[in-house]
Symmetry: C2
Subunit: 244 residues, 2 copies
Amino acid sequence: MNERPAPETFPVTPRNRAKRLHERAAYDRDAVYAVLDAALLCHVAYVIDGQPYCTPTIHWREGDWLFWHGSSASRMLKNQKAGLPVCLTVAHLDGLILARSGFHHSANYRSAMCFGTARIIDDPQEKAEALKSVVDRFYPGRADILRENDPQEAKGTMVIGMRIEEASAKIRSGGVSDDPADIDAAVWAGVIPVETRLGTPEICPKVPDGVTYPDHLAHFQDGRRLDEVLTQSQALYEKALERS
Amino acid sequence: MNERPAPETFPVTPRNRAKRLHERAAYDRDAVYAVLDAALLCHVAYVIDGQPYCTPTIHWREGDWLFWHGSSASRMLKNQKAGLPVCLTVAHLDGLILARSGFHHSANYRSAMCFGTARIIDDPQEKAEALKSVVDRFYPGRADILRENDPQEAKGTMVIGMRIEEASAKIRSGGVSDDPADIDAAVWAGVIPVETRLGTPEICPKVPDGVTYPDHLAHFQDGRRLDEVLTQSQALYEKALERS
């Protein structure tokens, strides 16, 4: 789906141009992809009869295409062969910024906003591939050890896809930014880091004896950062796609 | 702002009724507040000229009112005295569900979607209170040790507020849900927990000697869960409001 040669940078239009400049904005694919690929959870905004909805869901990426699991937007999409404009956003919280003034309190974060036209993936072959991808993109190699989806399951799962038409990434990192006049205040100022990590895998008690933690989950190690693990999954997944 | 006696449950309408039933949906204030109060980061969906936007930002709650920092919606709101319909959503990722079939792969999460009409908080007194609240709601007692915002800072900070008109919470927790026919498959199945925790506070190197980590941040302890810390902050903040 990504055969068009892609320039390194997304076009910048009034829709995706950053409105506030004190954080670093980027429009290049590498910056946007890095934020997207480090996450499983995204939020999708869409409009039904003038009412905005913001739905959290699971997303995955192949080139400039984003896919996600259906939501109440599905009802709308069924009647919209031309597709529906959406904005898919991913945000990672990296730290709390405690400043010497209320004004300079902030947060460290990495976010990406992606604009495009969402369509239901209903071609049976395309949909079967997407349902395999959603497993293999997060757990590369796992789809092959699972049974195939039966027709009822494929029917009961809604996959939505869009090509990213415009996108932007925004990142705030580093320490507190205070007014020079406030620096000598006797106030604790600094950063409290925030990290999202994996816990200890909990095997389902009904798994037959002798089944051990599989190689394809080896990088899902207790205590590792989720963003690093998911980025590694994406790289492994893309490498496997190249080989196939 | 929350003088209207509030029933325990938000009204259920086509806008907030859960569309998929295999996760637990709730419409009571306690369930919705618990999800909101455990987070700093939210996503706000709004519409400009038919185009949906999904903006990550910092939110805080007082009773049935939600507040957040301005975004590109601000431009739109300036011309909309009647307010703008928005959907503010919070989602926490709690675990990865690895099932014996692709279909039953899932995630544990807690989410809340809140619908209302957003307005710019531009009354000077109301805005000053909101700018104090955004510090004290997260770091109760901190606003009093900071200097006041100067008029330029107050002017340069956009605060948006809305009363929650409708809301719903959705929660998936627990283990993997597989088809009975798949239970004996020789496949590792289970849950990989995901947790967001605080790291070690990093003091700004320019803080004067003798300033130590303050009491009002005592519950921001290295290694604690962010959701628990923020829930505790909200409780401390509400208790302080009652006393004042």
